[in-house]
Symmetry: C2
Subunit: 215 residues, 2 copies
């Protein structure tokens, strides 16, 4: 019987799988140990505690996002990496909430942040503008993803739920919301593309860069 079974990586992988399948609230030390056929306390030999596990799985998710390519034009690089982050966060529905609760970024996130900063500096943005641009784009990534994940139903394939909501929840008291819900029903889904707000931001940044270059 092999004794060397448990490693930190095995634990983190199991935690990610468990969170993906049953939600982040299912990731408890006992439940995790059970998934690894091990007692909860055994995990502590490889991991300093639950916080450590949360740090670890957040960073695993950040490892999935493509670091913006430095040879692309800044706009394309930023756009691609923002979309990549969005998709990674959608793949792991628990990740945005966990990431925002970590007060110190892990190595994968740092690598990503550093790459973005370098790209924007190379593009000609002033340092203060780099900070502003980064915050604006990243706010969109996290804010948009969180909102989409908070929706009570999947808008892609639940027109009947939207109908019910339009009629029941919104009475005549909320005409605007009712109209929106009906739109969701009529069309092929509410057109809330991630890229819409992203391109609004990138347009604005491009314009700002152009006008600053003139000075």
């Amino acid at each position: 019987m092999p004794r060397r079974k448990l490693t930190r990586d095995l634990i983190l992988d199991a935690a990610v799988r468990l969170a993906d399948e049953e939600g982040i609230q299912a990731v408890s030390m006992r439940r995790l140990g059970q998934a690894l056929s091990v007692e909860a306390m055994s995990l502590y030999k490889h991991v300093s505690g639950k916080e450590d596990i949360l740090d670890g799985i957040s960073d695993l998710v950040m490892l999935e996002v493509e670091v913006p390519a430095r040879d692309l034009p800044w706009r394309a690089a930023l756009r691609q990496s923002a979309i990549s982050t969005h998709h990674a966060l959608l793949r792991h529905r628990w990740a945005s909430a966990v990431l925002e609760s970590r007060h110190n970024p892990g190595p994968a996130r740092m690598r990503y942040l550093d790459a973005v900063v370098c790209i924007l500096r190379d593009a000609g943005f002033s340092l203060p503008d780099v900070a502003r641009a980064f915050m604006a784009v990243d706010s969109h990534v996290y804010g948009f993803t969180l909102q989409v994940l908070a929706w009570p139903f999947d808008l892609r394939d639940a027109p009947e739920e939207a109908t019910a909501m339009a009629d029941d929840t919104f009475g005549d008291a909320f005409p605007g919301l009712r109209a929106m819900a009906n739109l969701a029903v009529s069309g092929p889904g509410v057109p809330v593309e991630f890229e819409f707000g992203l391109d609004l931001l990138l347009d604005g940044l491009e314009r700002r860069l152009a006008s600053a270059a003139v000075d």
Copy 2:
């Protein structure tokens, strides 16, 4: 000795105060009962459970944001209400995380959403564009606020912490981040204004509305 002490409103007020003062993790049924000089289980006569309390206090926070004024131009109304939401979320540092974990919006949030939708429709946006615009702006509000709150130190008055971070945490491995941290030290604070990204979005929406009106 008066018997009628507890009401739902009293409980929610106490919960908000407790969360403001000691953080959202301090809001447990026992701790909350203690704050109200009552046993934990007594709360269940006025509240259906902890989820109900979280719903309640989220909505109390949303009640603090100014509903966008319908007589203002759409841009000013949207800008004002976004800033108002940002400030409400900063006043209650726990609120953004709790709000994003609620799957069904409360009445105060509904009133707010409805007002935004009406304003955008009246301004001439198509229904799909109303959805897009709203998502973009709200994503910025929540995303930005969450990011600011997740920072490990208060950027307004902690240059020495930024220095330490610039030297220690970021070695030579992260030149971009190091530059950013040094910027934070040199200046009067990192210039990450909430309004920067917001105005980028509003500019883009204004332009889109203008070009659509031409058609």
